[in-house]
């Protein structure tokens, strides 16, 4: 008993204070992936059922809805092309660097941390697909998190709602900078150290500011849901609702930031 307890304590210590277990982790992850896959089966089967058994009317409604959406988006795209061209012209005038496009890799969620106090997920892309630690992860609506561990064919993503996660943001309306922190709740984030004179209102859109170099600039993070002055507290209590559907999204995008790729290319060139 004592021996086993000591072995466990020893493991805990080296796991916390050294990096000796780093090379072992990918192998352990390989071992665990099949079971994670099996554990996600019930949901997959449920979804398969939903996909195969759909009424004709539903499908038709879905198609017409999508057609309308496509039409609207195409209309906006026309504006976009014009705006992008104009933007490039203006940037040329300013002698600024060309606006770079980020490229993305689609990945699928294969596992969720069983510990409710830890917001991490596992996605099915890893070293084989050039995923790297610190890479930003998006869903269709906004920022989801960042890659913290990369295994051979899967990787672990820390979500922005985890209580140990902080992310530099700015208000879309006026560019006020702040830091959005997770609270261990999928539906809420908080801004720390916002002074009472800061211009921030309920309904403000927050986007990633790109400071700190981790997250690319300009992806939606959340919307301010409450701004409260707590008496006795020198700072405002600001809460936001994340744009990304953090506990629902199934398909995620791994961002290869253009700046990152540029760096890699020059490295290769040298």
């Amino acid at each position: 008993m004592l021996l086993l307890a000591f072995v466990a304590l020893f493991l805990l210590f080296i796991d916390t204070y050294t990096r000796w277990l780093q090379p072992v982790r990918p192998w352990l992850a390989e071992l665990t992936t099949p079971l994670y896959w099996v554990s996600s089966l019930p949901r997959r089967i449920g979804e398969l059922g939903d996909e195969t058994v759909v009424s004709r009317a539903d499908l038709e409604a879905e198609i017409s809805r999508q057609k309308t959406q496509l039409f609207i988006l195409k209309g906006r795209m026309q504006r976009m092309a014009e705006l992008a061209a104009e933007n490039v012209r203006l940037r040329n005038l300013l002698n600024a660097t060309e606006l770079l496009q980020d490229s993305v890799l689609v990945s699928e969620l294969i596992g969720v941390s069983p510990d409710p106090s830890r917001h991490t997920i596992i996605v099915n892309r890893g070293e084989d697909h050039d995923v790297f630690v610190g890479q930003a992860v998006l869903d269709a609506d906004g920022l989801m998190g960042q890659v913290v561990e990369v295994y051979h064919s899967s990787s672990k993503v820390l979500l922005i709602s985890d209580s140990s996660h902080a992310l530099p943001v700015q208000v879309l309306r006026n560019g006020v900078r702040s830091i959005a922190e997770g609270m261990g709740d999928h539906k809420r984030l908080t801004l720390r150290f916002v002074t009472p004179t800061t211009d921030i209102k309920v309904g403000d859109q927050l986007v990633s500011s790109g400071l700190g170099g981790r997250y690319p600039l300009g992806y939606p993070v959340g919307t301010v849901t409450s701004v409260d002055m707590v008496s006795g507290n020198p700072y405002l209590k600001v809460e936001l609702e994340p744009s990304a559907r953090i506990d629902r999204s199934r398909y995620l995008l791994l961002v290869f930031s253009a700046v990152e790729q540029l760096g890699k290319d020059t490295d290769a060139g040298e």
């Binding site: 072995v7 466990a8 996600s40 069983p114 261990g184």
Partner: protein, 169 residues
């Protein structure tokens, strides 16, 4: 005797894998808070069922397996499960007189102890962690215990393993 104990280990190992699966199935964040400690329950089942073959060592390995799958601090569940098994061992003699409800009370207490230990260990080893201690898993574990015992006994009976496993030695 050798063969029957090997068979028993196969069964207990298999049941632990099923427990891991139940522990890993993705749930919504509220439901995950109420998820019973399936692996610990299965460890308890085998500790009660065949104490000669399953002891602290079995609990330790099950815990380590869970740690590997959860992928956080390695050794966290191992030490807690081993400690729980040790505590169960201390009251082993009395266990024979316990009914299922009595056992459920013991399970409630032990899962509570395990939650407390897991919480303290995480607080010590993960700097800046802000989780809260929850008694929900203990309650659901105790509720699910009689069901688990009932179905596991039924299963082993239909497989004709009753005799070889309960003799245990």
């Amino acid at each position: 005797m050798q063969e029957s104990s090997l068979l028993t280990y196969l069964w207990s190992g298999g049941s632990i894998v099923i427990g891991l699966l139940l522990q890993l199935i993705p749930l919504s964040s509220t439901a995950a808070l109420w998820r019973p400690q399936f692996v610990l329950l299965i460890v308890f089942y085998w500790l009660f069922r065949s104490p000669f073959l399953h002891g602290v060592m079995f609990a330790w390995f099950s815990g380590l397996l869970l740690d590997i799958f959860v992928g956080e601090l390695l050794g966290r569940h191992a030490i807690v499960f081993a400690l729980c098994a040790y505590l169960i061992r201390l009251v082993q003699q009395r266990l024979h007189h316990f009914g299922v409800l009595h056992q459920a009370m013991l399970v409630l207490f032990m899962v509570l102890v395990s939650q407390l230990l897991l919480h303290s260990i995480t607080l010590i080893f993960r700097v800046g962690w802000e989780g809260s201690l929850s008694i929900a898993p203990a309650i659901t574990s105790a509720i699910i215990w009689p069901l688990l015992v009932f179905f596991a006994n039924r299963l082993l009976k239909t497989q004709g393993l009753e005799q070889s496993i309960s003799s245990g030695s």
